[in-house]
């Protein structure tokens, strides 16, 4: 293995040769993202080239083993790659639930065959995945899910309905929690994979209060799923799901963190200043400052949690704490942004407002404290696992 500085130079040279100018600079819209998949669309041919090049190197999943198509990099090398990508403002070569969620689950719970079969196409962006967890009747109480997988010997027949399946209408395959034993709530759930083109699968997009959304309702009507597509043990899919939820929580907690201009500057520009140069709305100024203080402390708490994780000192339930606070903080931020924007931020369709960008983002944040486990569920987890309160 090359020493860090040599590796950094190699990366730099390779990126110089392979990262097209079209994929450099800030991600400005959903349009800039590369999701891959069988029916992939790309903003420009350069976007496809960028995905293909990175995928071939395995650098879309830098730390996954090379035998499964990953980059096979060490933690340190992956950091170098990350910093070099940042240096040239390279946009992500692949956005993928396969990489963020299914991959880690397969690496932890999958069989050798499953890893060999599913991971490489994920890395190369050939197959796009979606996640089938929530159901209309099971929100916070995820384990109460009812989508039924009936044992037919060599396969299951799946019937039921999922909700909040992001990009289900665009995904090729789904990883999905199904009930394989109705008599046992937590130990009657299995984690299975199947093709979204299987007969009996249909989807319907959900319109949110913020407008169009990637979320869908997904319906299963006598869908055939092969037994070999079970991940982990039969009836132990809940373990896989919990493992993935912890991942997701840390991700959502970090949402919005460190992004964009300081709130107070936005407010100052929108509202103006008094003759002491202070934002000319003392009450809003006070609330923004309080938010700033909390956000600064939260950023440090995030850093500290990461450092504790690395040092092996972090309780797994710490993710719930960050998820809770981070999502509430982001909601507060957008309430303040709406107040700062005032009348201008109320517009919903005008070009001036970028089709109501602020208002739609504001409404979208309201889901932060619901998705990936509600605030109430996180507080329950903290009470139970970090505080050991009775009956929690």
């Amino acid at each position: 293995m090359s020493d860090p500085e040599t590796f950094r130079l190699e990366v730099r040279n390779w990126l110089e040769a392979n990262c097209p100018p079209e994929v450099r600079g800030l991600v400005e819209s959903e349009n800039d993202l590369i999701w891959g998949g069988r029916n992939a669309t790309f903003k420009t041919p350069a976007h496809k080239a960028w995905m293909d090049a990175m995928g071939a190197k395995g650098w879309t999943a830098p730390e996954w083993p090379a035998e499964y198509g990953g980059g096979g990099l060490t933690r340190e090398q992956a950091k170098i790659l990350q910093s070099e990508l940042l240096r040239i403002k390279a946009q992500p070569a692949l956005s993928s639930f396969g990489i963020w969620m299914l991959g880690p689950a397969l690496l932890a719970f999958g069989t050798e065959e499953q890893k060999k079969k599913y991971l490489p196409p994920i890395v190369r962006g050939e197959i796009r995945w979606c996640q089938g967890y929530s159901e209309p009747g099971s929100g916070s109480d995820l384990a109460s899910l009812q989508t039924r997988a009936e044992d037919m010997g060599d396969h299951w027949i799946v019937n039921g309905q999922k909700i909040w399946t992001s990009y289900a209408d665009k995904a090729d395959w789904i990883f999905c929690l199904v009930r394989t034993d109705p008599s046992n709530k937590h130990r009657g759930i299995s984690f299975v994979l199947f093709d979204m083109e299987t007969p009996g699968v249909s989807t319907r997009p959900i319109t949110l209060i913020s407008g169009k959304s990637p979320f869908c309702e997904t319906f299963f009507d006598n869908v055939r799923v092969e037994k070999e597509n079970l991940v982990g043990e039969l009836n132990r899919g809940w373990d896989v799901a919990k493992y993935l939820l912890a991942h997701e929580r840390t991700m959502i907690g970090a949402m919005g963190e460190g992004m964009g201009r300081p709130l107070g500057e936005i407010a100052r520009d929108s509202i103006g200043t008094d003759d002491q140069g202070r934002i000319d709305d003392p009450m809003l100024r006070a609330r923004i400052t309080e938010w700033d203080m909390d956000a600064a402390a939260f950023k440090l708490a995030m850093d500290s949690a990461v450092d504790r994780m690395k040092a092996g000192q972090a309780h797994p339930a710490l993710a719930s704490m960050l998820k809770y606070y981070g999502s509430e903080l982001n909601k507060r931020k957008y309430e303040l942004l709406m107040a700062a924007g005032g009348i201008d931020a109320l517009e919903w369709e005008s070009e001036r407002s970028h089709e109501g960008d602020t208002a739609r983002s504001w409404l979208r944040t309201k889901a932060n404290s619901i998705e990936g486990g509600t605030t109430e569920v996180q507080l329950n987890i903290i009470a139970k696992h970090l505080l050991n309160l009775p009956g929690a």
Binding site: S140, S144, D281, P282, M283, L346, E347, T375, E376
Partner: protein
Amino acid sequence: MALILTDEQVMLKDAVDGFLGEHAPIKHLRQLRDSHDADGLSRTLWQQFGEMGFAGVLIDEEHGGSGLGAVEAGVIAESLGRTLPPSPFFGSAVLSASILQNAGSDAQKFWLSKIAAGEAIVSLAVDEGAKHAPHRIETRAERSGNGFKLNGAKALVLDGHVADALIVAAQTDEGLSLFLVDPKTDGINIERTVMVDAHNAARITLKDVEVDADALIGEVGSGQPVLDRALSLGRACAAAGLNGAGDQAFAITLDYLKTRQQFGKLIGEFQALQHRAAHLYTELELAKAATLGALQAIDEGKETAGLSASVAKAKAGRVAELAVQEGVQMHGGVGMTDEFDIGLYMKRVRVLNETLGDSHFHAEQLARARNY
């Protein structure tokens, strides 16, 4: 005066609730929004408001109104907050009617009968920048020939894109003045702004707009007290609208708490949610008391009525925000979908909170009034 509605006021409330339940339930708003209605509101509904006597609540009988008071206007505004129909009530029947009633010439008062009949929409143009700042109006009216020449830009002009007449607040050398202007006058440009709540407003620019001297409402430079009076009334009615929306958001959330099951229980059984609901209920009671207090103070002509209206608007804004935030959160995922109504209340509350000064603005008014 007792801080409760009189029997007559309760009857009015029942009448408005009954009427809206039948003619403008919340799907009325959805239909206008989803059909991309060109006006964004129903003129038919507005005429019915006239027939029912709601549009003329504040207008004297001489001009076809019922000559009632602020409390009655607040009762109607609160009901509108519960089913959310886009309506010229707030802009025309409250704000503009107050100005015309108090300072309009006999000729200008012609508009009062049109408003009372639900036949005309008269919009008030005050705001200019991102935030409500009626003490810093920059639109100018220079003397020109027999009349005035107006220049400036206005925002959040309620129903401005369908207005039959505009009342424009502008600075003159003598101080703030109000002008009754035909929206079709040369130099006026009106842009409809579709808002997050699918209610109606416009941005209006005035470029060398020539108006006759008789466009002036009252004396030149005498606009401030007339405007302030209308604003106080408008704020108290907006507070009532916020209470209606907050109350209804809370009601549908309570229903949800009593029907949705999780972990084998109704979610309303969870004590953490119970306590938050109990707190919210208490806050709503405070907001309603503060609003009724302000409306009564206006009717009694108290000197402190403006300040009471600020307290009511600030408190109602905060509380309604809490109600819709808790509402969406307690609904969970479905609260985020357009299919459920709770999100409509969240949107409406945001706009009402911003209208005529948000809770920060009015808290600052309170601090200044107390010399803090």
